[in-house]
Subunit: 140 residues, 2 copies
């Protein structure tokens, strides 16, 4: 048995991976459209969700959000700037450590996000089971 056998996926695996990614992209596409309809970009939505969905007592700094979004700091800075201009989030420096900048939702941002999130919940009740099925087909 050649060593390469171990590192190349089978046709079965490829199909399962393709199905999973198809389901994933379908969901992400829904999400992007829903965000657009709500007047947000997909990234603004993600930023806002990680602010509102952070564990109780979390200080939602630029750095924290970068980690949660798998983005670099500077990208989150830019996202925050655009979100601020759109009146969705507000930024202020943390009095406890003035290097930190805390990003919060505005009242309007919160309202929009809550509705958008309800839409996502509904959609995930449909697409969720599909995703789970596709994932289970992949897990050995």
């Amino acid at each position: 048995m050649k060593a390469t056998k171990y590192v190349e996926a089978s046709d079965e695996e490829m199909r399962a991976l393709a199905e999973f990614r198809f389901a994933l992209r379908s969901f992400l596409h829904f999400s992007e459209e829903a965000a657009t309809r709500a007047g947000l970009t997909a990234q603004q939505h993600q930023l806002m969700l990680q602010i509102a969905g952070a564990p109780e007592g979390t200080i939602t700094t630029i750095g924290y959000l970068a980690e949660r979004l798998s983005l670099k700091h500077n990208t989150v800075v830019e996202l925050s700037t655009r979100g601020e201009e759109a009146g969705l989030v507000a930024r202020r420096s943390d009095p406890a450590n003035r290097r930190n900048v805390v990003v919060k939702l505005t009242a309007r941002g919160n309202r929009i996000l809550r509705r958008l999130s309800a839409d996502h919940s509904r959609e995930l009740n449909v697409l969720g089971p599909q995703l789970i099925r596709a994932l289970k087909a992949l897990i050995t």
Copy 2:
């Protein structure tokens, strides 16, 4: 009871959604890095996966791929052009219907994709259960 109660997500829901998206973005970030290490862009990888992972006998046209990737036709054309320049895919018109353009993997593209897919399979054995857990927390 106000009507708006029905369309705004609860704190619980927000946290569950945020956790799910965090898990999702972590996976997508892994995937992007793995693709980059293999010399591909994330989008080239996705294009190639939908070619290799299509059901038996599927004619992988630009249009078919656009649907599977939730992208517009012209975006897939551009992806294919870049993929062709990189020697990963090849394009030819379908003799049966010369309006169609079929995109296939080159031998090299296939080899790269098989390895990258094996990496994804492995990673999904770890992240998959997390994703499933996050999803189940969302489904009522």
